[in-house]
C-alpha cells in the first residue's frame, strides 16, 4: 500500500511538473515561438513589391509567416556583403532580405533593407540548422 502511494506520488508529481513545463512552452509568447510582428529584424524572401512596400515570406522558421514592410523615407536599401547602396526599384521578387525596423500603429516600418547573399556563411548556417530542426527564432 505504501509502495503504491510512493508510485502514485512520483508519477503524479512528475506529471504535474511536465504539464506545467508544457503549458509554459505553449503560453510563452515570443521567445521560442518563431517570428513575431513586433520583432525588429525580419528575414525573408520578397513575395510582392508595392509602392514603397514589400511583402516577405519569412525563412528558416518552422512555419513561414508573411509580413508587409513599409519603407520609411530614410530607409536604406543595401547589400549585406559590401554595403553597396541600392535603390528600392532594384529589389526583385524572390530576393532574400533582412529588414530592420519596428512595428508601430499597425505597420511594420523598415529603416534598412539588406539584400542577403545566399552563399554567405550565416545564410548557409541558418539553412542547415533549420534542416536539422533548429529553427530561426525558435530559441531554446
Amino acid at each position: 500500500m505504501r509502495e503504491m502511494r510512493i508510485f502514485l506520488a512520483v508519477v503524479l508529481g512528475a506529471a504535474l511538473v511536465f504539464t506545467t513545463m508544457f503549458a509554459q512552452s505553449v503560453s510563452a509568447d515570443v521567445l521560442g515561438n518563431g517570428s513575431a510582428i513586433t520583432d525588429c529584424l525580419q528575414i525573408g524572401k520578397i513575395t510582392s513589391i508595392g509602392d514603397k512596400q514589400l511583402t516577405i515570406a519569412t525563412q528558416f522558421e518552422k512555419k513561414s509567416k508573411n509580413y508587409t514592410l513599409h519603407l520609411l523615407p530614410e530607409c536604406y536599401v543595401m547589400t549585406a556583403r559590401r554595403g553597396e547602396f541600392k535603390k528600392f526599384k532594384e529589389l526583385k521578387k524572390g530576393d532574400l532580405i533582412a529588414a530592420y525596423g519596428w512595428y508601430k500603429d499597425g505597420k511594420w516600418n523598415a529603416r534598412r533593407i539588406d539584400i542577403l547573399d545566399k552563399n554567405d556563411y550565416l545564410i548557409k548556417r541558418l539553412a542547415a540548422d533549420a534542416k536539422a530542426g533548429v529553427y530561426y527564432k525558435h530559441e531554446r
Binding site: 511536465f18 513545463m21 533582412a98 530542426g133
Partner: protein
C-alpha cells in the same frame, strides 16, 4: 520498494521522451585547441588598396578616436577629441546590431575624463560639438541611440545618475538611480522604441527604463557584476555579460525577466551580435578568449584564443571579421616608450573560410581603446575633389536616401563656419613622470602646496578620500604599487588615476610600474569628484575608485555643494573661440518635455 521507485522512474523517463523534442544535430566545428591561433601565410587582406569597412575606436587615454581599415588593420588616422574616450554610437538609427544603421554623418563619443560627449563628423573627420553634460554627472558611456536617432542615453557611473539627451540642442532629463552605491554603466536601447537597459555593477542588476517618458521601470537581478548589456538585432532578448559569474544572462525583452543563464567563459565583458542575431561573440578577459554563442540554442559553440586580456570588441558590418581589442601586449612588440602599446587582433569568423577561427592580423595600438564600431566604407564620401561645398550644402545620395548637412552645416553651428573644431581640451595642467616615490600615502603641506600622495593597486587606492580646500595649489603624486595585475598576474600592469570631470584633464595620471606620475594644478572649483582608474588593469578595474573633495570655505563639498553650474559650462577647457561649439550645460537640465519626446 526499490522496484517501485525504479518502475516510476521508467515511466517518468518515458514521459520525458514524449515531451522533450528530439535533440537537434550539434554544430560541428574544429575545437579551438586543435587549431593554430594565427595565420602566418600571406593573406588577401595584406595589401588591399581600399578597405571595405572602417573601424572607429574610442582610444581611451590618448584622448583620440582611432580610424582603422578593415581588413587591412592599418591605422589611417587619429581624431583628437578630449581626454578619455570611451563609447559611441554612429548617428542614424540603432536598428541592427551594435554597429546600428548609420547615416554616415556623425558619431558621438563619451569622454569619461572630461565628463562630456563629443560629436564627430565622420565625413570631415573633425569634432563639431561638445555636449556639456549637466553636473555633477560622471559619464561612463553614451552607447545608446534612439531608433529615430534623435536622442542619446548616457550613464553617470560615477554619481549614480542616468540621462536622456536631445541631440538637436543638448537638453537633458537626468534621473537619480538610488540606492547608493549605484553605478549604471553600459546602456543599450531597445530597438522598438520602448525600453532602455543598463547594467548596474553595484546592484548586480540590469535596470529597465522607458524611453519616453524616460523613467525607471524595474531592476532585473542578473549574475554578479554585470558588464556589457546589449539588445539583440531582433529586439527579442538582452544579453548581459555577468563579469564575475562567468555566465551570460539572457533577458526576455517581452517579459522583462531572465530567460536563461549560459556558461560562457571567465570574465565575460562585451557582446557583439552578428547582423542576423545568429551568433553573439563575447570578449572574455580572464580566459583570454572570444566566446561564440549560438543564440538559437543559447549555447557556447566555439572559443578563439586572444593575446591578451581583451576588453572591448567589434564586428565587421558584413560579419566576416571580429576584432578583439586587447588590453595587454605582454611579451609582444618592440618597446617604443614608457607606456606600451595595447593591441587589436583581427579574427576570421567566416565559418566557410579556410582560416576560420584564426587570428589573421595583430597590430599595436596606442592609447587604451574602449568601444569600437565599424561602418561600411561606402558611407564616406570623397570630399577633396572640388565638390565639398556642394556636397555640404546640397547633399548627396545613398541609394534612395538623400543625405544633407543643410544650408548652415547643421543646427547649432554658425552659418559661415564649416565645422573644424579641434578641442584643446587637455586642461593646461602640468603633468609628468618622476622616479618612483615611496612617500607615505596621504596629504602633507610643503610651503603653500598640498602634496597628495596616492598609491594604486589591484583594485583600489590609498587614500580613498582626499580633501583639499578650494583655491589650494595641489601636487598629486601617484604610484602604482602592484607587482603584477591582481587576478591575471600580467607583470606589465599599468594603473591610472583620473579625477572625473573638471579636474579630469588636469590629472589623468598613468601609473606604470617603477615610476611615479605627478600633476600640478590649482583646485579653483569646489565640488565632489570621483576619481577612477582610466587604464584597464583587470576585471575589477571599474571598481577602482575614490573621491576628491574640493571644500568651499567653511563647508564640506558634496554632490549638492560645489560650483557645478559654473563647471557645467566646460569653458575652462577650451579656447574662447571654441565656446560656441558647446551645447547643453546645467541650464538645459531637465528641460525635456517627457512623454512628448518620441523615440521612434
Amino acid at each position: 520498494m526499490k522496484r517501485t521507485v525504479f518502475f516510476s522512474l521508467v515511466i517518468v523517463a518515458a514521459m520525458l521522451i514524449g515531451v522533450v523534442p528530439a535533440q537537434a544535430k550539434k554544430t560541428i566545428l574544429t575545437p579551438f585547441d586543435k587549431r593554430d591561433w594565427h595565420v602566418i601565410a600571406p593573406q588577401d587582406s595584406d595589401a588591399p588598396l581600399r578597405d571595405y569597412a572602417i573601424l572607429y575606436d574610442a582610444g581611451g587615454v590618448d584622448g583620440a578616436v582611432g580610424v582603422i581599415g578593415i581588413p587591412s588593420m592599418r591605422t589611417y588616422r587619429h581624431i583628437r577629441c578630449g581626454t578619455d574616450m570611451h563609447n559611441f554610437p554612429f548617428s542614424g538609427s540603432n536598428a541592427g546590431n551594435n554597429n546600428g544603421t548609420p547615416d554616415g554623418k556623425y558619431f558621438y563619443v563619451s569622454d569619461k575624463g572630461a565628463d562630456t560627449i563629443i560629436e564627430v563628423n565622420i565625413q570631415t573627420g573633425w569634432p563639431e560639438r561638445i555636449f556639456a553634460l549637466p553636473k555633477p554627472f560622471g559619464i561612463h558611456h553614451s552607447a545608446a541611440l534612439s531608433p529615430n536617432g534623435k536622442y542619446l542615453w548616457a550613464t553617470g557611473e560615477l554619481t549614480g545618475h542616468m540621462l536622456k539627451l536631445r541631440l538637436s540642442d543638448g537638453a537633458t532629463t537626468v534621473l537619480d538611480i538610488p540606492p547608493a552605491p549605484s553605478a549604471p554603466d553600459y546602456p543599450d536601447t531597445g530597438r522598438a522604441g520602448k525600453y532602455v537597459f543598463s547594467g548596474n555593477y553595484y546592484h548586480s542588476a540590469v535596470m529597465v527604463f522607458s524611453q519616453d517618458p524616460f523613467k525607471l521601470i524595474k531592476e532585473i537581478p542578473v549574475g554578479k557584476n554585470p558588464h556589457g548589456t546589449n539588445v539583440s538585432p531582433t529586439n527579442r532578448i538582452v544579453a548581459v555579460c555577468d563579469k564575475l559569474s562567468a555566465t551570460q544572462s539572457i533577458i526576455d525583452v517581452e517579459k522583462l525577466k531572465v530567460h536563461k543563464v549560459i556558461p560562457v567563459g571567465a570574465g565575460p565583458l562585451h557582446n557583439q551580435f552578428d547582423t542576423l542575431g545568429k551568433y553573439n561573440y563575447i570578449s572574455c578577459f580572464v580566459s583570454d578568449s572570444t566566446s561564440k554563442i549560438d543564440m538559437q540554442r543559447f549555447q557556447l559553440v566555439d572559443e578563439f584564443p586572444i593575446h591578451y586580456r581583451v576588453g572591448h570588441n567589434s564586428i565587421a558590418p558584413d560579419n566576416a571579421y571580429y576584432c578583439s581589442q586587447n588590453k595587454f601586449s605582454t611579451g609582444l612588440f618592440t618597446p617604443t616608450g614608457i607606456v606600451f602599446a595595447v593591441n587589436f587582433e583581427l579574427q576570421d569568423i567566416d565559418e566557410t573560410s579556410a582560416t576560420y577561427g584564426k587570428s589573421v592580423k595583430l597590430i599595436p595600438v596606442d592609447g587604451e581603446p574602449h568601444e569600437g564600431r565599424q561602418i561600411f566604407a561606402t558611407y564616406i564620401q570623397r570630399w577633396n575633389t572640388g565638390k565639398g561645398q556642394e556636397m555640404f550644402s546640397k547633399g548627396y545620395d545613398l541609394g534612395d536616401v538623400h543625405i544633407s548637412f543643410g544650408e548652415k552645416g547643421r543646427p547649432g553651428l554658425p552659418a559661415n563656419i564649416h565645422p573644424q573644431l579641434e578641442p584643446i581640451h587637455v586642461g593646461n595642467s602640468s603633468r609628468g613622470w618622476i622616479p618612483r616615490d615611496d612617500g607615505k600615502p596621504g596629504i602633507t603641506k610643503e610651503g603653500d602646496v598640498y602634496v597628495v600622495r596616492v598609491k594604486g593597486f589591484s583594485y583600489g587606492y590609498v587614500p580613498r578620500f582626499i580633501h583639499v580646500p578650494q583655491g589650494a595649489k595641489v601636487r598629486m603624486i601617484y604610484t602604482n604599487i602592484d607587482k603584477a595585475a591582481g587576478l591575471t598576474k600580467n607583470p606589465d600592469v599599468t594603473m591610472g588615476l583620473a579625477v572625473g570631470g573638471y579636474y579630469g584633464p588636469r590629472t589623468f595620471l598613468i601609473g606604470v610600474r617603477g615610476f611615479s606620475a605627478y600633476a600640478e594644478f590649482v583646485a579653483d572649483k569646489a565640488g565632489e569628484f570621483e576619481f577612477f582608474c582610466q587604464h584597464f588593469c583587470g576585471p575589477i578595474h571599474l571598481e577602482m575608485r575614490g573621491t576628491f573633495f574640493v571644500d568651499p570655505p567653511g563647508k564640506q563639498a558634496s554632490l549638492s555643494v560645489g560650483d557645478y553650474d559654473e563647471i557645467s559650462k566646460q569653458e575652462q577647457m577650451l579656447d574662447v573661440r571654441e565656446h560656441e561649439f558647446i551645447v547643453g550645460t546645467n541650464k538645459l537640465r531637465n528641460t525635456l518635455n517627457e512623454g512628448h519626446e518620441p523615440t521612434i
